[in-house]
Subunit: 217 residues, 2 copies
DNA sequence: CAGGTTCGTGATAGCCTCTAACAAAACTTT
DNA sequence: AAAGTTTTGTTAGAGGCTATCACGAACCTG
């Protein structure tokens, strides 16, 4: 049952130190943003001197990539357990918002402003497609909704991103709308653009979700 | 007609140098992101040595703040001319997308991932409320749409952010939906999350806009 | 216990922001 | 025009960062 193969005690120590580094990194990101992440500061916090961290992560970029991977896996796991407990599209939305509000820095690492040159490694896009599959499943399971929107037709001609998923075009359309609309609310909320505006972001999120479920997408 | 008051030649030189600094800064941001902006590199590019730039901007933060201000003013100007040429809500959406696609780095500076500690100065929130006013105007001018959505009622109780604007609650609701939905599409597109997915982001944007205009918001 | 592997260290190079002291140029005032 | 004041740019330097290197020390393995 143990996925962490109990190897040599050295291996154990290594993964433990890596885990602590990542933990401190998340704290730093939460308080000062990903751009202010400092390997040096983490090392000093852990009582060891600067370059020692390079035994565990080849570079600052590799650490950040690992954090991105972790964030994706966390979101994918949230979706997986939601699906396992019988969540429909509304359930997925609820799970998404709960996760995002609880881990704003993780959400923003995934969906926030990217560094122009950066390209995610292969396995990360794999996890991202697992998330998309869960979304497509929920959308196909929902309702036929004979959507006559011209964009649905366009999607039927450009469905390579669905990766062989048997979703009808209206489900593809609804999945994209789900993604973009909920992201629209969440990203603005997490970025603080709704502060001092008075209304409750959760209600706006709920209203968008309701529109997504009752209207044809 | 000249807004730039022809003051002393020194003043002229100063604003010119500041302008060139900002221009180089935008180039850097476009190629490496805002976090990689380096005053030092800009100075060297301009043929002067490091600390000279601090005569023009007190700190790196002040330069970035100025860039954010510039971005807000650029967007507000785009909206202003759109309104002046008789644009309705659809026209605003078109103007928004055109501006965002042409100035992705500006859009992301405004609506992208914020630095946790940062607080925008007063005048910037002023420009931002001008943008919101244009949006609310367009939404009130549109259609009555007796929206019975519960969120509209909530907005009627929390309309302080509209700053005295006489928009009916359904217009407030539509303005928020306009903002969040179009931002949802735009931000994901600009962040590159649609690349390699095959479909045309412009069509998704158009579909979202159409939904916004034909359905009750 | 001998041997190779891994880990942490200090030194160093090369970036960066930002301050301070100083020189030179440019406007202002007399 | 001469003298004085303000603005501009310079170099030097403190302190931070990423990252590499060579070296000693600790550690598992045979």
């Amino acid at each position: 049952m143990a996925k962490t193969e109990a190897k040599s005690p050295r291996e154990r120590y290594r993964v433990q130190v890596r885990a602590e580094i990542k933990e401190r990194a998340w704290e730093q990101i939460a308080t000062a943003g990903a751009s202010a992440l400092s390997l040096n500061a983490i090392a000093k916090q852990m009582g060891m001197s600067g370059p020692a961290l390079y035994r565990y992560f080849a570079s600052r970029d590799e650490l950040i990539t690992e954090l991105i991977r972790e964030a994706y896996q966390s979101l994918a796991g949230t979706f997986r357990t939601a699906v396992a407990t019988g969540a429909d599209l509304a359930g997925l939305a609820h799970a998404l918002r709960g996760w995002a509000v609880e881990n704003p820095q993780r959400y923003l690492l995934i969906y926030g402003t990217p560094v122009p040159g950066y390209h995610a490694p292969e396995d990360i896009t794999g996890i991202s497609s697992e998330i998309m599959t869960a979304l497509l499943d929920a959308c196909t399971a929902l309702a036929p909704t004979g959507s006559a929107a011209p964009f649905s037709a366009h999607l039927d001609d450009h469905r390579d991103w669905a990766d062989g998923h048997p979703a009808p075009p209206s489900a593809l359309h609804r999945a994209l709308a789900f993604w973009t609309r909920l992201h629209g609310v969440l990203s603005l909320e997490l970025a603080g653009h709704f502060t001092n505006m008075g209304f409750d972001p959760a209600l706006l999120f709920a209203a968008e979700l309701d529109d997504l479920l009752t209207h044809r997408a």
